[in-house]
Amino acid sequence: MTRRLRVTRSGGFAGLRRERDVDIDDGTPATEGLRALLDSGRLRTAGAGQPDRFVYRITDDADLDVTVQEQDLSDDDRAVLDDALRG
């Protein structure tokens, strides 16, 4: 059974919302990175907002729902989420 994730990015100076649904089992490098990030346990809802930073949210059909502030992500982890949004 495939697992679908929804990745959303909101905030930033422009306040533009971006969203993309990702099939986590499609075997592409971008989703491999995303799967590894999910499995790592590093994605946890925490931290207060900072002016004009991006806010990422990852949900699935089950009970996954994490909101992470850009400044709380490592550069590599943030790049994985941005890649997922770009597709």
């Binding site: 905030g11 306040g15 900072q50 002016p51």
Partner: protein
């Protein structure tokens, strides 16, 4: 309180109408009126009227600006490429950041008597060329950071002087009211940045409140995007409407307040409501926005009365009180501010 019976624009037209006594009389009345207006403003602000920013590309200030180049990496602050009073670098983003920081510093210094963001002469540090295709600008608690944009939807974020003023205002808010970046207090934090960013732009263009376009981030979108700017304080919700990025989601009044968990509770969305209140207050009385409404908002932001979790209604009351304190209880300014918050549905 300052009152005129004949509107100044009408007197000007009378004065131009050729020779003869009525024109002379009108001319004299106009001069006296101008003097009284200047004196009245000086009384309210402690200085003579100000008609705009006098900086230019060769500007020299005491802002202690430092512009760095991240060279598309993400290490901050990056290489120092232009410091205060140094010649233009020739790099457009560097020189725009330098100039915008100067214009913002001058607004605070010359109009509000503020010594930099912290009122303690904090050097103004900015980094440009942050990462690749970075579609953002921000204040990270210590300095400004500007991306180059992706070139498809967004141009470089130094392109509009009000974006630079917006980011620096986040610094001022951090050092003063400390509005929490969540929900209504977060939307007020955002609105402070749009308000003071817009004042930097209007003062640089030497515009009166009535002539300004009240757009935020004009020129930031590439010509592939259907939109004038990122936000409109005059008409929130109308800045853009595009197939790819969608429509400007900002409400102008509380009827359309957006409840959301995204963007820290919609801080970039619901800021449209206090933004529009400021626009209404600033345009209800004539003159320059930074000379009246801007002073009132600044008094509130820095007055020590704003709680960190301030909601719109609390902020509205504080601006009405500040308008009465600075301009008289029954002044046009106090009435304009109270009317503005009623019009956006924040106060009854």
């Amino acid at each position: 309180m300052w009152c005129t019976v004949v509107p100044p624009f009408l007197l000007e037209r009378l004065g131009e109408a050729g020779s003869g006594r009525p024109a002379e009389a009108a001319q004299l009345t106009l001069e006296i009126d101008r003097e009284q207006r200047a004196r009245r403003r000086a009384g309210a602000t402690g200085r003579p009227a100000d008609d705009g920013d006098r900086g230019d590309r060769e500007d020299r200030t005491d802002a202690r600006r430092r512009i760095h180049d991240a060279e598309h990496a993400q290490r901050l602050p990056g290489e120092l490429v232009r410091r205060e009073n140094a010649d233009a670098s020739g790099d457009r983003a560097v020189d725009e950041a330098y100039f915008g920081l100067g214009a913002t510093w001058r607004l605070y210094h010359e109009i509000f008597g503020r010594e930099s963001l912290d009122d303690r002469r904090l050097p103004l540090v900015a980094t440009v060329h942050f990462r690749r295709d970075y579609d953002n600008a921000m204040w990270n608690g210590e300095q400004m950071v500007f991306g180059d944009g992706d070139g498809e939807l967004f141009n470089r974020f130094t392109i509009a002087i009000d974006i630079i003023g917006h980011e620096l205002a986040h610094g001022v808010t951090q050092y003063t009211a400390g509005l929490e970046y969540q929900g209504q207090s977060g939307a007020l934090n955002e609105s402070m940045s749009d308000v003071f960013g817009s004042l930097v732009k209007q003062r640089h263009a030497r515009e009166s409140a009535g002539n300004a376009d009240w757009l935020i981030g004009e020129g930031l979108f590439t010509d592939r995007v259907q939109g004038k700017a990122l936000r409109s304080m005059k008409a929130p919700g109308t800045a853009y409407d595009d197939d790819v990025i969608g429509k400007d989601p900002q409400p102008a009044t509380m009827d359309d307040y957006v409840e959301t968990t995204e963007d820290n509770g919609g801080v970039h969305i619901n800021s449209g409501i206090p933004n529009h209140a400021f626009y209404l207050a600033a345009t209800a009385t004539d003159g320059r926005a930074w000379e009246r409404a801007g002073l009132i908002w600044y008094d509130v932001l820095t007055g020590g009365q704003v709680p960190p979790d301030c909601d719109f209604a609390t902020f509205a009351s504080l601006t009405v009180e500040a308008a009465r304190a600075r301009f008289d209880t029954d002044s046009d300014e106090a009435t304009a501010v109270a009317d503005a918050w009623r019009a956006v549905g924040v106060s009854g």
